[in-house]
């Protein structure tokens, strides 16, 4: 007997995400996870790759966005295109390595061969196909929309109504701030990505990236072991550092507000190194921007931010969050090299290794706390997570950006209020 297809009960995101509290199931429910992949990652804009990762024609990287495997590839014309990593013939995976270089893409199954711009250029025994078969219809499938800002390439798989610029909103200022630390305005993500498996929900990583409350506790062991490496900034509740909610789910911890207030020395953001030890970089910055503006940039440093949904400009690192399942994610970390700053880049590389990834003296402990939190929220009670620290005390700027104290949960609430709009909005549309 035929039965009607099951339509799952709608999930009430306006109930699960409240202004100062969240329902624990948001981190554990596989049905919510599946909807997030579709609604946030496939229907929204997601970061996929940086232009500098694939500098030469034929360079490619394979990336996962939501549940989809994508190939970002530089063509002979110098253009980057993003295709689904799926052969149009019978579906085999085309690129099996995380990155590489190929003059053309040949499928391992029946050797259909594609040019770097996606055209099908050859297949064995083509004449055996019916007369209406056309190679022109059987090329690689590009993603529906791609766009970039500052070399950061984003994709939107199921078209929405927003331009990338509208999605990024004020977050373009964060990208500008990072690029503005480079004497040429360009960065290079060429050092490869640490891949760190986290046994926690992807949103916990998002929240922790812009959490100004946990550092003295979670990172107490590093602060005790190596104070200068752990922090040269003020982490007290009275710190002038602000957290900011930019809207559209983007947020940051604005360490520059602390550095500006101190206004004493350059490079607090890279261990307070003596500028005399970075002559090449300092010289190039002075030449590029003039001594006064260069000084401001070198005092303020890079952003510490989370761009909705998966890209973190994490000071001199880029971090990308890849959801795997409700309780697993992979965090990718790549140090940011600045073009024309070899002396700083060497330092940035070693600092990345010290702090980040599965053995990092900082992030391994964040990962551990994420895992403990994941295990914790699996318990049914107390059901709600409290996220109201500093609520109602934010300063709202004329442009809508909200400012709050270093330890306030304003940044997380910024993420969640956009999450609620996106997730509830898509539910309401289908009802």
């Amino acid at each position: 007997m035929a039965t009607a297809p099951l339509s799952p009960a709608p999930i009430d995101y306006r109930h699960l995400v409240q202004d100062g509290r969240l329902h624990g199931s948001l981190y554990t429910d596989p049905a919510i996870f599946a909807q997030e992949m579709d609604t946030i990652f496939h229907r929204g804009w997601s970061f996929v790759a940086h232009d500098s990762e694939i500098p030469n024609q034929g360079d490619f990287v394979v990336r996962r966005v939501g549940s989809q495997s994508l190939v970002a590839l530089r063509g002979k014309d110098g253009e980057v295109r993003v295709f689904y990593n799926r052969c149009p013939h019978r579906g085999a995976t085309l690129c099996q390595t995380a990155s590489g270089n190929r003059p053309r893409i040949t499928c391992p199954y029946h050797a259909w061969t594609f040019a770097l711009d996606g055209r099908l250029i050859g297949l064995p025994d083509e004449g055996a196909y019916p007369a209406d078969f056309s190679k022109a219809d059987a090329g690689l499938t590009p993603v529906a929309r791609m766009d970039s800002y500052g070399g950061f390439i984003f994709v939107n798989l199921i078209p929405n109504k927003l331009t990338l610029r509208e999605h990024l909103g004020h977050a373009t200022e964060l990208i500008d701030a990072l690029l503005g630390l480079s004497p040429t305005g360009r960065i290079q993500l060429s050092a490869g990505w640490m891949k760190h498996k986290m046994r926690s929900n992807w949103k916990m990583i998002v929240e922790n990236q812009v959490d100004g409350y946990h550092a003295p506790m979670v990172h107490g062991s590093l602060i005790a072991a190596n104070r200068t490496f752990a922090t040269v900034r003020d982490r007290k509740p009275t710190s002038p550092t602000r957290v900011r909610d930019f809207g559209m789910g983007h947020s940051d911890i604005d360490h520059a507000s602390d550095y500006r207030a101190a206004n004493d020395k350059l490079f607090r953001w890279t261990g307070g190194i003596d500028p005399a030890r970075l002559p090449q970089y300092v010289g190039a910055m002075n030449d590029a921007y003039g001594p006064e503006d260069a000084r401001r940039r070198l005092i303020e440093g890079p952003p510490h931010s989370m761009l909705f949904p998966n890209l973190s400009l994490a000071e001199m690192n880029i971090m990308v969050i890849e959801p795997i399942s409700a309780d697993t994610a992979v965090q990718y970390t790549c140090p940011v090299f600045l073009e024309g700053a070899e002396d700083l880049n060497a330092r940035t590389l070693r600092r990345c290794e010290g702090a980040m990834g599965p053995a990092g003296m900082l992030i391994a402990d964040d990962a551990e706390i994420g895992e403990l939190t994941q295990m914790g929220v699996t318990n049914l009670e107390p059901e709600w997570i409290i996220l109201s620290r500093g609520m109602g005390k934010e300063e709202v700027l004329p442009n809508g950006v909200k400012l709050a104290g270093l330890m306030d949960e304003t940044s997380q609430r910024g993420f969640w209020s956009h999450y609620r709009d996106v997730m509830a909005g898509s539910q309401e549309n289908v009802r």
Binding site: G192, H196, F229, L349, G354, D365
Partner: protein, 167 residues
């Protein structure tokens, strides 16, 4: 930088038994989280403890999971010694097997390559780690000191979990 330090043929005149015993001793100190004793196996300066993300990687341009010089190594140990490094509190229960040991004499010291498999038990999860380790050892009066240790994990190109213990 090439990964292997071995000469084409094993050198004679090295007390390979002593080298083996040194590796087994080091393994036990790591398994049992005897952090200070393990640190004492290292040379005073010029040390390198390297866990690359790719075999044959160039560590001056590519990011590694661990690339510790002597001061960084000391920091790592100090952090573990606090007892509140969350990713090792509780500590992993570890036991590793060292095998396929090949030894040769080089200009820099005694080069040793070996395979390991390591079983980790932590919080209800058993994890298998494996790889090939290159040691460069310096002879000292009471045995050897580690000048360089490179650990090539078999899964170094995959996403890996908590590596806060000593590998």
């Amino acid at each position: 930088m090439t990964v292997t330090l071995l000469e084409p043929a094993p050198a004679s005149g090295i007390d390979t038994k002593a080298v083996e015993q040194f590796l087994f001793h080091e393994a036990r100190l790591q398994d049992e989280h005897r952090y200070d004793q393990w640190e004492a196996l290292w040379t005073g300066e010029d040390a390198l403890y390297w866990v690359p993300m790719r075999e044959g990687a160039d560590p001056t341009r590519e990011v590694s999971y661990i690339y510790d010089n002597r001061p960084r190594l000391a920091s790592r140990i100090r952090q573990l010694n606090t007892g509140v490094r969350h990713s090792q509190a509780p500590q992993s229960r570890l036991r590793r097997l060292i095998s396929n040991i090949e030894v040769s004499e080089t200009d820099e010291g005694v080069a040793v390559e070996s395979n390991f498999s390591l079983i980790e038990s932590r919080r209800g999860l058993m994890t298998i780690w494996a790889g090939r380790t290159t040691h460069l050892l310096e002879r000292v009066e009471d045995g050897f000191r580690i000048k360089r240790k490179i650990v090539n994990l078999v899964n170094c190109e995959e996403a890996i979990g908590n590596l806060a213990f000593l590998v």
